[in-house]
């Protein structure tokens, strides 16, 4: 099975190719210039692997939460490639991709959502799958839901930006912190591959980013 994945949800840009369990990947710090780098990065990676789009089994992308514009770039590129190559698509949660980066155990993930908030979710690895204990939400770091036990691993930029507040909330529950972890295409392919195998890929016309923050403006009657 061959899966192409990419992520542009943060200032990083990454692309990965899963070939029967082996993962090739590229990454770079793109700032706000993902559109300049993403397709050339994919093209080079496929060429190096001797892979062509028509031999792929699916396209996966980091569907969010993350930078709204970044999520739409990944979603739009996934839609365009999949439409042209007639492939199914899967959006993979960037928070679950963070948990996958940890590998195993109990993981609390948080991404900086700006405006004093974080995107937050917790996962527990169970029989090779991540069970989400708290599905992705948007909250102030101070109001992050409580976690039980003392062996949690924390990761994501939320733990970098709001390190003190969050560690204060979770006093004693967290054994290790990886504030430097960012969602990466490598883990997205790992999460997507078994789902494509199960036939969970969908028509690219039906996919959308997962924004979480849905209130972006006030209606006239709300002002």
């Amino acid at each position: 099975m061959r899966i192409l994945a990419f992520d542009t949800s943060t200032q990083y840009c990454s692309a990965a190719l899963w070939v029967d369990g082996r993962v090739l990947y590229r990454e770079m710090l793109a700032g706000k210039r993902h559109t300049e780098f993403l397709l050339p990065m994919i093209q080079e990676m496929l060429a190096d692997a001797g892979a062509v789009l028509t031999q792929l089994d699916g396209i996966a992308f980091g569907s969010g939460p993350g930078s709204f514009t970044g999520l739409r770039i990944a979603c739009g590129v996934a839609q365009g490639i999949a439409l042209g190559a007639d492939l199914p698509v899967l959006g993979i949660s960037t928070l679950e991709a963070l948990a996958q980066q940890v590998g195993d155990g109990n993981v609390v993930t948080a991404l900086d959502a700006r405006m004093g908030e974080i995107y937050y979710a917790t996962y527990i690895k169970f029989a090779d799958n991540w069970q989400s204990v708290n599905p992705p939400i948007l909250c102030s770091p101070r109001n992050a839901p409580p976690i039980l036990g003392n062996n949690w691993i924390a990761c994501g930029s939320g733990f970098d930006v709001y390190n003190e507040v969050l560690l204060d909330c979770y006093n004693g529950c967290i054994s290790r912190v990886h504030g430097e972890f960012n969602p990466h295409a490598r883990e997205i392919t790992q999460l997507a591959a078994p789902r494509f195998l199960e036939g969970l890929g969908v028509d690219p016309a039906t996919i959308s980013p997962l924004y979480i923050r849905n209130k972006v403006a006030l209606k006239e009657n709300e002002r």
Binding site: T35, E36, I42, R72, V77, G84
Partner: protein, 342 residues
């Protein structure tokens, strides 16, 4: 050559198929106006979120309508700018990724070039050179068009765009958002039954000696009127009529001055305000007297649409030679982009 056109610069998703020999094969448009009206204006983030839901279904729709499939495409044209950054990026991302997977060129088009050429979608089409009056909610410009990519700015608005002035005035009169068309309808209905002009509004910059416009003073004049008088239905209609007349007068006089200055005899009127009936009547009447001809896009191609982008893409690729267009997958959107820079 078959070109797919993708327009996502503001609040309309427009997709179309244009063929060099058969012309426009199909087009589809989804307008977000209703969604934005609750907010009293376009919310850029919501516009972008909607575009990404619409583009693929509309591409499938135009292909089905034309009984064609993706393999028949020779190129993809998309609006690169100017416009809302997030909205432009949706069209650009899909267009370039589709170009990558189909191995056909993608070409970024200037939104206003699309509007400039939109009258060429009609059977009664202008030929170069001509003067173009671009009037929409975002732009008010007079351009001298000598050929594809040969554009000289003759004059433009120093503040509000004409369509913006229509919409803001309509809002003042309580006609909702975007109320420009409702304001025109109110003015036209009034004029049908009453030929008396109760209010006289200023014609800003009419005698400025150049081809620039300014509409913010006109808006202020309406505001003053609205404060002075009780806004009965009758008064609203009278103000709407006076406002439209002032707009039409200024746009007409400046357009004729542009023809005189350039020595050209064809005028193309493009953009949403180009659908205004009074403007069309007045321009036709005045142009005929100086033996000039005015061209308008069909009503459906006055607003943003994918057909004009597909046509502009086709013309650009024909000029360049499609074989000379490199397959290059790095792309950007250009939210601020001067037409003269083309």
């Amino acid at each position: 050559m078959l070109v797919l056109g993708i327009e996502t610069s503001c609040d309309e998703t427009g997709i179309a198929l244009y063929h060099n020999k058969q012309g426009l094969l199909s087009h589809a448009l989804y307008s977000q106006i209703r969604m934005h009206s609750e907010y009293g204006g376009v919310v850029p983030e919501l516009a972008s979120r909607d575009h990404i839901r619409r583009v693929l279904p509309l591409i499938k729709q135009v292909l089905t309508t034309a009984k064609l499939n993706l393999k028949d495409l020779d190129a993809i044209a998309y609006t690169q700018g100017p416009g809302l950054a997030g909205a432009l990026l949706v069209g650009a991302s899909i267009a370039n990724a589709l170009s990558f997977s189909l191995k056909i060129p993608a070409i970024g088009i200037h939104h206003l070039e699309g509007h400039l050429l939109s009258a060429m979608l009609s059977t009664h089409a202008p030929i170069f050179p001509f003067v173009a009056l671009l009037v929409s909610g975002g732009h008010t410009q007079l351009m001298e068009v000598r050929g594809l990519g040969l554009y000289k700015l003759l004059g433009e608005t120093l503040d509000d765009a004409a369509g913006e002035a229509f919409d803001k005035t309509a809002k003042l009169l309580g006609l909702g958002y975007p109320g420009g068309p409702a304001l025109s309808e109110l003015a036209d209905t009034f004029y049908k039954f009453n030929k008396i002009e109760r209010f006289k509004l200023p014609r800003p910059m009419l005698h400025s000696g150049d081809l620039n416009f300014s509409f913010s003073g006109l808006k202020t004049a309406v505001l003053t009127l609205a404060h002075k008088h009780e806004l009965t239905q009758q008064t609203k209609a009278e103000i709407a009529f006076a406002f439209q007349k002032a707009m039409v007068d200024v746009l007409t006089e400046k357009s004729l001055a542009a023809l005189a200055q350039t020595g050209l005899t064809q005028l193309v009127v493009a953009g949403g305000v180009g659908a205004n009936r009074q403007l069309r009547n007045n321009l036709d009447y005045r142009a005929e007297k100086i033996r000039a001809v005015v061209f308008y896009p069909e009503f459906k191609f006055c607003t943003d649409n994918g057909a004009m982008i597909a046509l502009a893409g086709l013309m650009r690729l024909q000029k360049l030679g499609i074989q000379n267009k490199p397959l290059k997958y790095s792309f950007t959107a250009t939210p601020r982009w001067d037409l003269e820079m083309l």
